[in-house]
C-alpha cells in the first residue's frame, strides 16, 4: 500500500512538473496553440512515466522475466536482510508499483555470503563422499580378510617359490637372474592383447573394410530390402494354387527358431503353473 501511495505520489509530482513546464513554456511562446501545448505536456508526462518504468520496459524489450529483472536492478544502501525481503516482496507486488531501492553494501554482502555458502556446501559434499569411500574400503578389507586362507597356509606358499630360486643358486648366475625376473614379472595391463602377425595383416583388414562397404551400400540402412520369406509367401499368394505363407507351409523353414519358441512357451506355462487347456 505504501508503495502504491508512493507511486501515485510520483505520478502526481511528475504531472505537476510537466504542467509547470508547459505553463512556463506557454508564457514564453505565444505562437503555439493551446492544444499543441496540451499535447506536448501529455507527451512529456508519458515520457516521464515511461522513465519510471524504464526497467520494466527494458525487461519487456529483451523478454527477460520480471522476476530476474528484479535482481539486476541498481543496489541501494540497505542491508542484506532488507534486500532479500525486498526481492520477496517484489514477487508479490503487482506490476504497477515502483521498484524498491537497495543499498550497495547490502547487495555486496549478500553476494559474498552466497559465494561462501556455495563453497561450504561443496566442502561438505566432498567430506561426505570421503566418508563413504573410507567406509567402503573398510568393508572390502574386512571381506578380504574373511576370504583369505588361514595365515599358516599363506606362509607356506610364501616360502615355496623361494626354494627353486634357492636351488638355482648352485647353477649359473644367468639362470638365477632369469628366475628372479620371472618371479618379479607382472602380467600385461588390461588394455593389451596378444595377436599373431599372420592373423592381423593389413591386406585382410582392407579387404574386410571393402566388403563391409559394399554390404552397407547394398544391404545397409536406406535400402528397401525385405526377407526371402516374404518374397516366397507373395509368390504363393499370387500363384495358380494359392497357399499360406511359406513359414507355415514349409516345415523346414526356420525350424530351429520354431523349436526355440516352443521350448520357451513350455517353460512359460510350467513357470506360471498354468494348466494347458
Amino acid at each position: 500500500m505504501s508503495q502504491t501511495h508512493s507511486k501515485r505520489k510520483a505520478i502526481i509530482i511528475n504531472s505537476a512538473i510537466c504542467i509547470r513546464l508547459f505553463t512556463s513554456r506557454c508564457c514564453r511562446d505565444i505562437r503555439t496553440t493551446r492544444w499543441q501545448h496540451l499535447l506536448q505536456s501529455i507527451l512529456v508526462t508519458l515520457v516521464g512515466l515511461s522513465l519510471m518504468y524504464v526497467r520494466r520496459c527494458w525487461c519487456l524489450i529483451w523478454r527477460i522475466p520480471y522476476n530476474v529483472c528484479s535482481k539486476v536492478r541498481f543496489t541501494s544502501l540497505k542491508e542484506t536482510n532488507k534486500m532479500s525481503e525486498l526481492a520477496q516482496s517484489q514477487f508479490e507486488s503487482s506490476d504497477d508499483e515502483l521498484p524498491e531501492e537497495v543499498a550497495f553494501d547490502a547487495s555486496k554482502s549478500a553476494a559474498l555470503k552466497s559465494v561462501k555458502d556455495a563453497l561450504e556446501s561443496a566442502k561438505r559434499e566432498k567430506n561426505l563422499l570421503k566418508e563413504k569411500r573410507r567406509k567402503r574400503q573398510q568393508l572390502f578389507q574386512e571381506q578380504k580378510t574373511r576370504k583369505r586362507l588361514p595365515e599358516d597356509l599363506l606362509e607356506e606358499f610364501d616360502t615355496e617359490p623361494q626354494k627353486p630360486a634357492v636351488l638355482s643358486d648352485n647353477v649359473k648366475d644367468e639362470e638365477e637372474t632369469n628366475v628372479t625376473s620371472e618371479t618379479n614379472s607382472k602380467s600385461l595391463p588390461d588394455s593389451y592383447s596378444v595377436k599373431r602377425v599372420k592373423d592381423e595383416s593389413a591386406a585382410k583388414s582392407l579387404q574386410q573394410s571393402a566388403i563391409d562397404f559394399i554390404q552397407s551400400r547394398l544391404y545397409g540402412p536406406g535400402t528397401k530390402r525385405t526377407s526371402n520369406a516374404e518374397l516366397l509367401s507373395l509368390k504363393m499368394k499370387k500363384g495358380a494354387r494359392q497357399g499360406a505363407s511359406v513359414e507355415f507351409v514349409n516345415k523346414k523353414y526356420g525350424a530351429d527358431l520354431k523349436k526355440k519358441i516352443t521350448k520357451s512357451n513350455k517353460r512359460f506355462i510350467h513357470k506360471q503353473k498354468m494348466v494347458p487347456s
Binding site: G222, R225, T226
Partner: protein, 703 residues
C-alpha cells in the same frame, strides 16, 4: 510294365516303397544334402571361342560353351576369402581381380590357377583389357588405375595413371585403346592413356537422396565417344566425352543399376538392376526410316528374384546372373531365325558335374561341399506297399563322417569306393586318401600319408573291386594307383597318343576291371586296356561334349550321353558303334527329348535287366529299354500315365523305349544301389531360396 514310384519322407530321412518286379523300385528320397550354390559375381564373353566365363562369389570360375547348349566345360574351384570382383579376357587368356588386391591368371588347359600377382593398390574393384589384347587395366581402392602389359608368360606392371581422390569402382576401355573411362563415387573421369592425365571430370547428380553418395557401379565406353554409366540412384546416363556433359538420363529403377553390357555391334546394351530385372536399350530411330537415332528403352526381362550383379549381351542372347545363383540365358528372338532349342529360355541352376558319389555295395553316400565332405548311411524301411505309397522309416539315415579339408582351397573332386572302404578327394594343391573302418557302430578313419606325386587331379574314380584308384591328371593322362591294406602305390600311367593337353572331366571303369574310358575337354574319348596299360581305341570325335558315360557290365559297351541330348553306344571289343546306336541315329530322337535344357549327369545299368539303361537330369529320370521300339515323331513321348490307364494287353503295343518319370523335385543325383533300390538326391529350389540374401521389396498390386 510298371514304373518307378516314390514316397514322401518325414523330415530329412530316406524313404522307401516296395521292390519286386522289373520296373518297380524302392526309392530313397534324400533331402539331407544341403547343397548351396554360390552367387554369380561377374561374366565375361570371349567372342572367338564363344565361351562365357562366370565368376562366383566363392572364387570359383566356370567356363560355359555357348554353342553347345551352355554346357559347363570347365570348372576352376575357388578358395576361402577370395572376393572376386571382376573377370576379363585378354585375347585367349582369362584374368580375374578381387578385393584381396591380387590379379589372378587361370590355366584353362589344366583347369587351375596359373599365378597371382599383387597389384599393391589395395582392394581391386575393376579389371578390363583392351581390344588389341596387349594391356590390362585395374582400378584400385587407393584411386589409381594401374596398367599392366600382358607379356607372353606373365603380366608386368607398366605405369599408373593419375591418382585420384576416392576409389575407382568401374572401368571401361575405349575400343581404340586411347582413353579409359573410370566410374568413381559421385563422378566419372576420362583418362588419356598415353599421358595418364584426366581429360574430363563428369559429376553425377545425387538425385533424391542428397545425403547418400552416388556410386557409379558400371561404365561402358562406346566407339563414338559416348560413355554410358549405371549408378546407385537407379539411373542410366549417357555422356558425351568431347564436351564432358550429360546427354540423356533414364530412370530405370528405384534401386541401384549394378551391371551394364554392350553388344558387339554397339546397337544395343543391357542394364542389370538390384530389383532383379534386366532392361535393354536399343539405338533406333523413333520414327521408321528416319535417320535420327537415339537410345530408346525397349525390353524388360524379369527372370531373377534377387539382385542381378552381372550381365552380358552376346550375339543372340542376353545372359544374366546374380545373387539368386542362377545363370539365365534369354535368347533375343529378333536375332534368331529358326525356332530350335536355342530359342528357349534356359536357366542353369546346378553344376554339370556330379557332387554325390555312392558306395553301391555298402549303402553309403559321399556329399562334396566346397570345404568339407560328408559321408552318410542310408536309412531302412519296413514292410511292403503299393507303388506311390509312403512307408515308415525304421532306421533314420545317419551321418557317419564329416571330413574337413585342410588349407584354403576348395574341393575339386571326390569319390568313395564301391565297397565303402576308401575315400579320396582332390583340391588344387593336394590329394587326400583315407581308409575307412566301419564296424556296426564304430567308425574309424586313417589317412594315407605317403601318396605318390599325383598331385591335384581333375577327376577321381575307383575300380569296381576297389583295388585301384584312377586319377586324371595333366596332359589328358590317367595315373593308376593300386590300393591295399598297407597303403597305396603308383602302378602306371595311361597316356593318349594324340597329345591333347586338355584336362579330363569324366572317367568310367568297367565291372570286370579290364577297361577304362576317359573323356576330356577336347571332346576326345579314349578307351584304355588296364591289363596291358595301353590305349585300346579312340571313339570318333563328336561335336558336343560328353556329359555322362558308363560301361555296361556284361556287353562292355560304352554308353555316352552328350550335352546336346544325343546318345551313342560304342562296343569296346569290336571298336565300333553298336547296332542299336546306329538305329537311334537313323531314327532320330523325339523332339521332346532333344528340347530338354539340362544335361544328363549319370548313366547306370540294371544288373537284373541287361537291356535297361537308367539316365537322369535335373527334372526327370528315365529308363531306356533297348528291346522296345523307338518312338517316332508322332507318338506321345511322355506316355507313362496313359499306359497306366490302359489294360495290360494293350500296353505292349503302345509302349516305346523311353520311360520318363517326373515325380521328383530338382535332382542332383540318381544312383541304383546293389540291393536294387534307387537313391534320388533332391534339392528343392525353395530350400535354396530361403537361404539367399535379402531381396529388394517390390510393391505388387493388392498385397
Amino acid at each position: 510294365m510298371g514304373f518307378p514310384s516314390g514316397v514322401k519322407s518325414n523330415q530329412r530321412g530316406g524313404s522307401c516303397c516296395t521292390t519286386s518286379a522289373m520296373g518297380e523300385f524302392k526309392v530313397h528320397r534324400v533331402r539331407f544334402f544341403d547343397y548351396m550354390p554360390s552367387a554369380i559375381r561377374a561374366l565375361a564373353f570371349n567372342q572367338q571361342n564363344e565361351t562365357m566365363a562366370v565368376a562366383r562369389m566363392d572364387g570359383a570360375v566356370e567356363i560355359f560353351l555357348c554353342s553347345d547348349r551352355f554346357f559347363q566345360g570347365k570348372i576352376i574351384p575357388g578358395r576361402e576369402q577370395c572376393g572376386i570382383e571382376g573377370l576379363t579376357w585378354v585375347g585367349e587368356r582369362l584374368f580375374s581381380a578381387g578385393l584381396n588386391g591380387q590379379i589372378t591368371e587361370y590355366d584353362l588347359t589344366n583347369q587351375r590357377v596359373k599365378y597371382t600377382i599383387d597389384a599393391y593398390g589395395g582392394p581391386i574393384w575393376a579389371i578390363t583389357g583392351n581390344q588389341e589384347g596387349t594391356h590390362l587395366a585395374v582400378g584400385c581402392e587407393d584411386g589409381t588405375v594401374k596398367l599392366f602389359a600382358a607379356n607372353e608368360d606373365k603380366i608386368q606392371f607398366e605405369r599408373n595413371l593419375d591418382r585420384q581422390k576416392g576409389r575407382i569402382i568401374s572401368l571401361s576401355w575405349h575400343p581404340s585403346g586411347s582413353k579409359i573411362a573410370a566410374g568413381m563415387i559421385d563422378m566419372i573421369q576420362i583418362f588419356n592413356v598415353e599421358t595418364g592425365q584426366s581429360i574430363h571430370r563428369m559429376l553425377t547428380d545425387r538425385g533424391t537422396s542428397r545425403s547418400k553418395e552416388c556410386m557409379v557401379w558400371c561404365v561402358v565406353y562406346l566407339s563414338d565417344g559416348t560413355v554410358i554409366s549405371g549408378d546407385s540412384g537407379g539411373m542410366v546416363k549417357m555422356w558425351n566425352d568431347h564436351t564432358g556433359t550429360l546427354i540423356k538420363s533414364h530412370n530405370v529403377s528405384k534401386c541401384d543399376v549394378l551391371a551394364l553390357s554392350v553388344s558387339q555391334k554397339e546397337d544395343s546394351f543391357v542394364a542389370g538392376t538390384s530389383e532383379g530385372f534386366v532392361v535393354q536399350f536399343q539405338f533406333i530411330s523413333s520414327v521408321l526410316e528416319k535417320n535420327d537415332k537415339e537410345w530408346v528403352r525397349t525390353r524388360t526381362f524379369r527372370n531373377h528374384t534377387h539382385d542381378v550383379r552381372a550381365v552380358a549381351e552376346i550375339t543372340t542372347a542376353v545372359v544374366s546372373g546374380g545373387m539368386d545363383t542362377q545363370l539365365v540365358v534369354r535368347p533375343l528372338l529378333d536375332k534368331i531365325e529358326v525356332k530350335s532349342s536355342a530359342s528357349a529360355l534356359q536357366k542353369i541352376i546346378f553344376p554339370h558335374r556330379s557332387l554325390v558319389s555312392c558306395a553301391r555295395k555298402a549303402g553309403l553316400m559321399l556329399f562334396q561341399y566346397p570345404g568339407h565332405l560328408e559321408l552318410w548311411r542310408l536309412g531302412e524301411s519296413e514292410g511292403q506297399g503299393i507303388p506311390g505309397s509312403s512307408l515308415l522309416v525304421k532306421k533314420n539315415p545317419e551321418k557317419l563322417l564329416h571330413l574337413k579339408v585342410k588349407g584354403e582351397d576348395h574341393i575339386r573332386c571326390s569319390a568313395v569306393s564301391p565297397c565303402g572302404e576308401w575315400i579320396a578327394y582332390s583340391t588344387n594343391s593336394s590329394l587326400g586318401l583315407y581308409r575307412l573302418h566301419c564296424d556296426n557302430n564304430n567308425i574309424s578313419i586313417t589317412k594315407i600319408s605317403k601318396i605318390p606325386k599325383v598331385l591335384s587331379s581333375a577327376k577321381l574314380c575307383f575300380s569296381s573291386d576297389s583295388s585301384h584308384l584312377f586319377s586324371a591328371s595333366t596332359q589328358s593322362s590317367v595315373h593308376v594307383v593300386s590300393l591295399s591294406q598297407s597303403g597305396c602305390k603308383l602302378v602306371g600311367t595311361l597316356k593318349p597318343k594324340s597329345g591333347s593337353h586338355q584336362a579330363i572331366h569324366l572317367l568310367a571303369a568297367s565291372e570286370d576291371g579290364k577297361w577304362l574310358a576317359s573323356a576330356n575337354s577336347d571332346h576326345e574319348v579314349h578307351v584304355y586296356n588296364l591289363h596291358t596299360k595301353e590305349l585300346h581305341c579312340t571313339v570318333p570325335i563328336y561335336s558336343s561334349a560328353v556329359s555322362a558315360m558308363a560301361i555296361h557290365p556284361e556287353t562292355n559297351c560304352l554308353f555316352m550321353m552328350h550335352a546336346d541330348q544325343r546318345m551313342f553306344e560304342f562296343s569296346i571289343e569290336r571298336k565300333q558303334y553298336t547296332d542299336w546306336s546306329r538305329l537311334v541315329q537313323r531314327n532320330g530322337l523325339h523332339y521332346i527329348w532333344l528340347e530338354r535344357d539340362t544335361p544328363c549327369l549319370n548313366v547306370m545299368f540294371n544288373p537284373q535287366n541287361p537291356s535297361h539303361v537308367i539316365l537322369h537330369d535335373t527334372y526327370m529320370f528315365c529308363i531306356i529299354d533297348k528291346s522296345l521300339p523307338l518312338p517316332d515323331v508322332k507318338t506321345q513321348f511322355l506316355n507313362q500315365l496313359t499306359l497306366k490307364s490302359l489294360p495290360k494287353e494293350k500296353r505292349k503295343s503302345h509302349s516305346h523305349a523311353f520311360k520318363v518319370c517326373k515325380t521328383f523335385r530338382e535332382m542332383l543325383h540318381v544312383e541304383l544301389m546293389s540291393d536294387q533300390s534307387l537313391v534320388v538326391v533332391e534339392r528343392p529350389l525353395v530350400d535354396i531360396s530361403t537361404q539367399l540374401p535379402a531381396p529388394i521389396k517390390q510393391k505388387k498390386f493388392a498385397t
